[in-house]
């Protein structure tokens, strides 16, 4: 089976620090893959590369979603690769690179089918819960200025559909009672769920969750695990998550990738990882050093 996401040789440097060094991993469609590792291992950096917020210095990130060729879509081209001299002989390639330099960015990665949440919740606090979800459907509604000002039939139909879709996700996350509250005044756990709902409103193939259980109590964490499993089973959303709650990770994930100091030290099923001596060493340290 072709993986949904293939990361090959991902490398990124910040000044002299190599934050990620030749990171390789793949995410199978319909799976829950977890990125784990000690603090500062580079998990969030991987996320930021995959979702287009950081521009990697080397490697490829390929997404196999939709009607692309066998190779898939290299997400790094969407961010605008530097233009090279040899591109002058390939006008089409040059034009493409120039275009993405000008108009590329994380928003294109999202439109390709990758959505994310943030470690520190980033909601639109002064907007209502419903508006948060409507903003997320910006590319699916009729955003043209004139049709909106004139309230064309097409515009109204699309708005109605967006409202419907938002309501469905609100119900799924049991937030429908709070549709008309400000996002900023929701309790913390609800904000976490709202952020997931908002990401899902963009119709992603791959949902990247950055520490979704951080700050939740054990009950809420259990609820979250169930929700994530339902998302995968009923909505065919593939999930890539970073999480420190090992109980939750071991319970729900199909595949684990362990990072330490910017390198992948282990991959495998939860059982394999639990036995892996390098992982134990990374987490607990070893006497042998």
């Amino acid at each position: 089976m072709t993986p949904l996401l293939t990361v090959r040789g991902l490398t990124i440097r910040f000044g002299g620090v190599t934050a990620l060094n030749q990171v390789d991993f793949a995410v199978q469609p319909g799976s829950i893959t977890a990125l784990i590792g000690p603090n500062g291992a580079g998990k969030t950096t991987v996320f930021n590369c995959v979702t287009g917020f950081y521009r990697a210095d080397g490697g490829t990130i390929r997404l196999h979603a939709g009607q692309q060729d066998e190779e898939g879509l290299n997400l790094l081209t969407l961010l605008g690769e530097p233009v090279r001299w040899r591109d002058c002989w390939q006008p089409q390639r040059l034009a493409e690179r120039l275009y993405y330099q000008m108009f590329g960015g994380p928003h294109l990665v999202n439109r390709a089918g990758v959505a994310r949440t943030f470690q520190n919740i980033r909601l639109f606090n002064e907007l209502t819960v419903m508006e948060n979800l409507l903003v997320a459907q910006h590319t699916q509604v009729d955003a043209a200025l004139l049709s909106g000002l004139l309230r064309s039939r097409r515009f109204l139909a699309k708005e109605e559909a967006a409202l419907q879709r938002a309501t469905e996700w609100l119900r799924f996350f049991a937030l429908h009672g709070e549709a008309n509250r400000l996002a900023g005044e929701l309790p913390y756990g609800h904000q976490r769920r709202l952020e997931m709902a908002r990401a899902l409103c963009t119709n992603p193939r791959l949902l990247c969750l950055d520490e979704p259980a951080a700050g939740l109590n054990p009950n809420e964490t259990r609820l979250l695990s169930q929700l994530i499993l339902t998302l995968r089973d009923q909505f065919q959303v593939t999930i890539l998550l970073i999480e420190h709650d090992m109980g939750m990770v071991m319970e729900i994930s199909d595949h684990l990738v362990v990072l330490d100091h910017g390198e992948v030290i282990a991959r495998g099923t939860p059982e394999e990882i639990q036995q892996n001596p390098r992982v134990l060493a990374a987490y607990l340290g070893t006497g042998a050093g």
Partner: protein, 428 residues
Amino acid sequence: MWARWWMACRVGAIALLLLAPMVGAVLSGYQIETHWQRPLWLALAVTVGTFFCSWLLQHIGWFDRFGGRAASSTPAVTIGQSGPRPLWILLAMALAIALPFVVGKYGMSVAILALIYILLGLGLNIVVGLAGLLDLGFVAFYAVGAYTYALGYHYWQLSFWLALPLGALLAGLFGMVLGFPVLRLHGDYLAIVTLGFGEIIRLVLNNWVAVTGGPNGVSVVFPTLFGLEFNRRAKQGGTPIHEFFGISYSSDHRAIFLYFLLLAVVGLLIIMVIRLKRMPIGRAWEALRENEVACRSLGIHHVTVKLSAFGLGAMVGGIGGVFFAALQGFVNPSSFTFFESAYILAIVVLGGMGSTTGVIAAAMVLTVLPELLRDFSDYRVLSVGIAMVLMMVWRPRGLRQRRRPFFALPTAAEENRAAALVPGVDGR
């Protein structure tokens, strides 16, 4: 209670010490007369007054507002059907239509100026209030609009009706030109760059004498209505309007015409702004103001969103400029100083950033009040400053609370997803 009396007595003692030499010893001719009762009575008044004031401060909640407690106790934003009741709208419309027949010539010019400031306030409100981009050079677009009409007429006999869309387009273009380099800037840096841009436009208009006439300005012709002129005698090759309708000439016709035209434009703009807030583009502006990173993660291109805000805001400013030129009959760069930018920004801030009704109210207050208080015109800027400070203390979010649209949830979807819910997933 006793603590308060004790405090009041101490204040009274201080008052006595201070007042005794001031009031107690009176210079009469070359002699000093002593009046010991006077400072005693005054000190007693101070003591009792202090006691009661401190009692009032504690027991009447209104005074708490000085402490800024009001800011947190009143909800910052109300959610509901946006805008005031239809009755109020009808009343306001009736008042606006009746106005020219009530107030005199002078009142009309004030009303027209107020409408122009409403226009500008609503335009800047798009940029500052909705998109959250602090623009200190808004007057530049106002100037572009005014000079489009003035220079267009001067060189190519451009009519007012053509200048209106052209001025808007040109100002919008300038807005986008300004928007492009400042895309990466936020807050203070953005404010400084836009401030510089506003000054550049003014300095170019001032110094490019060969084209703009420099400080001497350019005269502007008054608009015509379907070829009908508002002059006593035809000057622009049309028929004077009073001859056409067979009424006697009155210079009021000009003001009434301009007033109603502006009223129509402002009315259209209000409808537009209200709709914009419920449109994807308006929501994207507000989302961008709240969190740019989240916006980008949701597939929204921040460049186009920011540019559209700058462009649309500037277009409105340009329209305001064309009207200003038509009203004045003459433009020169001294009308487009930084003070104007600051004044428009004050309107937006006082009105409550993002609130349409608030901005309209603030624009009216800030243009009509200075006219009513002509005698105190020296203190105009000071009073605006004091008003701003008081606003920040009492209503830091502006005259009017921002409203958010209310969405009734559709019920048809209820069955579909309710089944999908995992049993026990309720969250509460």
